[in-house]
């Protein structure tokens, strides 16, 4: 192919000529390129994702213990769910977790990202330090640490004793408060949405702030008129994905409760119960049914989020 000319006027014509030399019209060619870029995703989708997903959908109508072939039992798994007190416990605990941890985590992440975006000295260090908790992720060490911190003689109670509040017992080990320690754990690991917010903030062109400053805007109105609107795609992303992640949260509950979901099922996250049923008791069919119920719940909430996004998310690529 020959090198393209840079002269503006001629380019269009040259391009059109070249295109006409090829057999495909521009529209189809663009579509093809679109699908070309999607090719790896399609491959992955059809071999690694759709197949197993449909497999698990099938399993949800069966009784399957991994050790022998699945047996079709129709809707029995779905019916059994609603008289299973542990399933209802799991729904309740997960709902509390999602409703409380997602806004908290996002708020903290956004606040810290805004603070760090001010071009402070030591930005890199702060950013790294605030990300460290997320690095600990699902390590076994976290379980031990969290029990130490929120335990009867842990640092939290010691701190409260300094404020004059004595005689408290372990926060982790009390069914009334254990889920809240997990919510705090989630909020503590805000590093990921924070980084994403930071990246989003960095993408807002500095010139916009300068122009606004010349027009007499103060920092607060800069935030409201520039930062917030331009950040909405990222806020939306974080909201949706943190919500999906919170519904599917597994590791914090698994490691802090040593896989039991206790005490008294107070930390029995939904996916933890799926894991217990599927890999603990080998009721893979029942576990698959629960997984699909979760998917439908998540899909519902996500659809609501997307519908609402039309009213508050502002994309720059809109013509």
């Amino acid at each position: 192919m020959s090198t393209t000319q840079v002269q503006a006027g001629q380019v269009g014509a040259n391009k059109k000529l070249q295109v006409e030399k090829r057999k495909l019209p521009l529209g189809v060619r663009e579509n093809l390129i679109g699908y070309l870029f999607l090719l790896p995703w399609f491959l992955g989708l059809f071999t690694l994702t759709i197949g197993p997903m449909l497999g698990s959908l099938y399993l949800s109508f069966t009784r399957y213990d991994l050790l022998s072939a699945p047996q079709w039992i129709g809707l029995q798994n779905f019916i059994a769910m609603f008289s299973d007190i542990r399933f209802l416990d799991a729904l309740r605990v997960t709902a509390i977790y999602v409703v409380l941890s997602v806004p908290l985590k996002l708020a903290v992440a956004l606040l810290v990202a805004l603070a760090l975006n001010k071009g402070l000295r030591g930005l890199g260090i702060y950013r790294a330090v605030y990300y460290v908790p997320s690095l600990l992720g699902g390590s076994v060490a976290i379980a031990i640490l969290w029990r130490q911190i929120f335990g009867q003689n842990g640092i939290v109670n010691q701190g409260l004793a300094l404020l004059g509040i004595h005689g408290l017992s372990s926060w982790v080990a009390d069914p009334n408060t254990s889920v809240y320690t997990l919510i705090i754990l989630a909020a503590w690991q805000f590093g990921s949405p924070m980084l994403i917010f930071l990246a989003g903030l960095k993408q807002i062109p500095g010139e916009m702030y300068e122009a606004a400053g010349i027009d007499g805007a103060g920092p607060f109105s800069k935030f409201l008129q520039i930062t917030l609107p331009l950040l909405t795609p990222i806020i939306f992303f974080n909201l949706v994905l943190q919500m999906i992640g919170a519904f599917q949260a597994f590791t914090p509950a698994f490691i802090v409760s040593s896989g039991s979901g206790g005490p008294y099922d107070s930390t029995l996250f939904y996916t933890l119960y799926i894991y217990q049923q599927g890999f603990g008791y080998f009721h893979m069919g029942y576990a698959s049914a629960m997984a699909w119920v979760l998917l439908m719940i998540i899909a519902l909430f996500t659809a609501v989020a997307f519908t609402s996004s039309r009213f508050w998310v502002f994309y720059q690529d809109e013509r």
Partner: protein, 440 residues
């Protein structure tokens, strides 16, 4: 600038990436020995810590020296990860040849015809003349041996000698009244004597083995041989009401203390933390518990309903050596199992890490390495073998779920969320549901 340059760069990167995946993928090829030129390759999977892994590798090396035409690859992980992984391997058709088994799962696996029938290899080549017959019989399923026990243990009580002395009570062996009622008074006395924060006993209401012992003392088992519930609501109620009483009187540890401790990790038990003088524990944990506390730890039998005549205790295989029914080398497998249990080198390599061996000869061989706590264990094992009613009903597949249900409900009771009556009703109803979920 040529647009083809952009595309070429892109293609170069893709090619490089593909080559990269290839190397990375191949670099990660595990050394699973494949059968080549007459060599036999077996896979041996087990759970345990690094200590066990080192010992097992030593035994495997010995075997390979003796029989160079066989290679045995080992795979291990921790107990909780072991079962999901094994089940996934089986579902994918790649069951390892040699499988370490646990009594709670053996019924499920043998019912699906996944375990090799070892009975036909006994007594040749697996010769076990001096093996503890009660132990062996207790691990059979429908009269067939599917696994050779590595050792036996039982549910007993571990007690803190120092704390008991401090409280001014006699040792459990000398106690006049070792019934549940007597136990309640005994532990109450200890709690009062030792002051706040230290209790006579832990709260064992969530311990499935303890409630099983309790129910066995009534002549029943937890489950029928058809895998149904064999205890009734009254049994459950009596159990929950008993521990409720102990909790309210202060004889057993509070829920706060219980939640801070672990019932599975000896170093974190209430006994090792010196918060309780007595723990209900599998007997083989005595060594690990002793190592975690400077006080002296003793081992004895659980309290019983009538006194010691039928105390419901039974000898259970701590873990077993089983084999896959689909192994390509059943004879080789049998040979290896024989080696593990009868070869002096293997016996010494494994030591008592998996349990005190069931064979008298092996016990004698390891005697010099036995500590005091092991000898106490051994003596009690002999006592139980001689006097107790063996348990001949295997745990059905739903047993794991029932155990978790008990824990959850007992916790609810201890935190005051349920009354004893509600706890009993819920436990019975949910147990039935759990057993029903399994079906055939």
């Amino acid at each position: 600038m040529d647009s083809t340059l952009g595309r070429r760069d892109f293609l170069k990167i893709s090619a490089g990436a593909l080559a990269g995946i290839g190397t990375l993928g191949v670099a990660g090829c595990g050394n699973e020995p494949a059968a080549r030129n007459g060599k036999k390759a077996l896979q041996f999977t087990f759970w345990g810590s690094t200590t066990r892994a080192t010992r097992t590798d030593k035994a495997v090396q010995l075997y390979q020296q003796l029989y160079p035409h066989t290679t045995i690859g080992t795979q291990f992980t921790d107990f909780n990860s072991y079962w999901p992984k094994l089940a996934t391997q089986i579902s994918g058709g790649s069951a390892p040849d040699l499988i370490q088994m646990d009594m709670r799962f053996i019924d499920q696996y043998q019912k699906k015809a996944l375990l090799l029938d070892l009975s036909r290899f006994i007594p040749q080549p697996i010769s076990l003349p001096d093996f503890n017959q009660v132990l062996l019989k207790g691990s059979e399923a429908e009269g067939v041996v599917y696994g050779i026990p590595f050792g036996g243990n039982f549910l007993g009580i571990l007690y803190d000698k120092n704390l008991l002395q401090k409280a001014g009570v006699e040792m459990p062996e000398q106690a006049r009244d070792w019934t549940w009622d007597g136990f309640a008074e005994y532990t109450l006395h200890i709690s009062k004597a030792l002051g706040p924060g230290v209790y006579g006993t832990e709260d064992a209401s969530a311990n499935i083995w303890a409630i099983e012992t309790f129910i066995r003392q009534r002549g029943k088992e937890l489950y029928t041989s058809e895998g149904q519930r064999a205890f009734n609501r009254q049994d459950a109620f009596d159990w929950f009401a008993y521990w409720d009483k102990l909790r309210k009187s202060g004889a057993c540890a509070t829920p706060a203390v219980e939640s801070e401790s672990s019932s599975t990790i000896p170093a974190l038990s209430t006994l090792a933390q010196r918060k309780a003088a007595i723990n209900f524990s599998p007997s083989n944990l005595i060594q690990a518990t002793q190592a975690a506390t400077p006080h002296n730890v003793g081992l004895f039998l659980c309290p019983s309903t009538t006194g010691l005549s039928d105390n419901g205790t039974y000898l259970k295989a701590s873990m077993l050596m089983s084999a896959s029914a689909t192994t390509q080398y059943p004879d080789e497998v049998a040979k290896f199992i024989t080696f593990l249990f009868t070869n002096n080198g293997a016996i010494k390599a494994l030591g008592i890490e998996r349990g005190i061996p069931g064979s008298a000869r092996a016990q004698a061989l390891l005697k010099p390495s036995l500590k005091l706590s092991d000898t106490i264990q051994l003596n009690l094992v002999h006592l139980i073998t001689a006097t107790s009613r063996p348990k001949l009903v295997l745990d059905p597949p739903g047993a794991g779920e029932v155990s978790d249900l008990l824990t959850m409900i007992a916790q609810g009771l201890s935190f005051g969320k349920l009354t004893a009556a509600e706890a009993a009703d819920t436990f019975v109803a949910q147990t039935d549901q759990a057993l029903e979920r399994v079906g055939v």
